[in-house]
Amino acid sequence: MQKSALSVYEIRQDFPILKRKVGDNKTLVYLDNAATTQKPFSVINAIHDYYSNYNANIHRAVHQLGEEATLAYEQTREKVAKFINASSTEEIIFTRNATEAINLVSYAWGRKNVNDGQSIVITEMEHHSNIVPWQILSGEKNAKLCYIGVDDRGYLRMEDYKSFLDKSNVGLISLSEMSNVLGTIVPLNEIIKMAHRDGIPVLVDAAQSVPHLPVDVQKTDCDFLAFSAHKMLGPTGVGILYVKRKILEEMPPFIGGGDMIKEVHKQNTVYNDLPYRFEGGTPNIAGVIGFGAALDYLNRIGMNRVRDHEIDITKYAMSALADIKDVILYGPLDANDRGGVISFNIADIHPHDLATIMNERGVAIRSGHHCAQVLMERLDVPATSRASFYIYNTKEEVDIFIDALHNARRIFKL
């Protein structure tokens, strides 16, 4: 199999936004990809094409436009199933975002299956979207929310996990495959194997992993997997929930309404087949079709090459950052154990001040708690700065980023 390096400069030609100038005629250096990625022409065009040529509601209309729209929408479902190697399209549910996908599980599956006195196990490095739904559920069910700790190097404390499995009645494990702050990639195979030994299902928050790593749901054998289209070249407003078929068959519906039904009578309803039962109301048709184009784009590159590129650029950036005085890096130091997300602080420069100064050089980085306040408390910092990479980022951009950091040190008289 060919495995040449990714041609970043060719890829950049496909992203119109990368040509724009910001501020004082500075070239955009977009390093906020963990928040959302930019979109290639093919995605923008697919959405434009749908609205220009075959805009219609799906699954019902017999007219030609309706059939074309339904076909395009369902083709994306097939592409998603293939992309994460699900065994069938019936296991793929479209939601608004990864947050809604996790909430779907907590409301529909959790309410029925998590019982009084059980524990829900998550980790200290979860995004708020994988904390708050479980707080709500554990409040309703009198369940206990338990956190697997993060050690000082940014790895999960597996001894915490073992102890929860040994000592508590665990109803569900829900964890991020890759931290959106530390970049840590967790030992998912081992975690899922251990859970399944005790018959405990596992939800994987894959919002940061599916866009950046090859993911195979049959290989890891996870029970639920949630991610977002917009973090992988697709449009906003589309989330994906994978659920193992045998769990899905027993799961009550989430949102009631049109499209999720087969028959509605005055006092009862017969629900639609999988997966439509879980997609009440008109979905984001244009967004799902656009996401299909995003998956085509990533497939043409190949996820192994995406991963290799990110390891390469992350190593380069981390070694440059480590050379700057007073920089504190968070998360694993080995680029093979992490994704292309680098959180850091410099001396007493607050991340928001840093982001303001960087912005003037055209460098877009994130600053704040990154929707991970529990982790910020663990790290004992109010906020961090974060640079995150994707397929179109170059080492020259990393150099501009590093240069802008030196400028910030100068402004803060460090």
């Binding site: 007493d348 420069i349 607050h350 991340p351 928001h352 001040d353 303001t356 100064i357 003037e360 600053s367 704040g368 708690h369 109010p382 906020a383 400028n407 910030a408 402004i411 803060f412 008289k413």
Partner: protein, 142 residues
Amino acid sequence: MSDDIYREIILDHYRNPRNKGRLPNPDVSIHDSNPLCGDEIDMHLKVEEDKITDIKFEGRGCAISQASASMLTEMVLNKPLKHVKDLVKEDILENIGLTNLGPARIKCALLSLKVLKMSMVKYYADRDPESASKYENEPGAY
């Protein structure tokens, strides 16, 4: 432009904040935060005969929010409490010398004024709930 924002005086107040800390028996204390940035400010006031006789702030956040709070305490110490009602955002921005902040960062600069105004309203509400509303600004007034 960053060189204009992070001038000596802002960095000085950020690194050596004035009136930072707590008061032993404050007449009023209020906390608020800026959800966008996570900046936090607590204001503690001592009031005698309607005059701010002592003021301290606690907080954490960016240089703009913390320097602004530090400068605001200096600005209102020994001034009539009622005077706080008349303060508008331009007073603060001129006081700290930052008149062209963007919409995101302006919230950092104005957080301490918001907390001070909340303190004033609470002070009067604790003493005379009926009359407190006259110390509240119209929404969006500052």
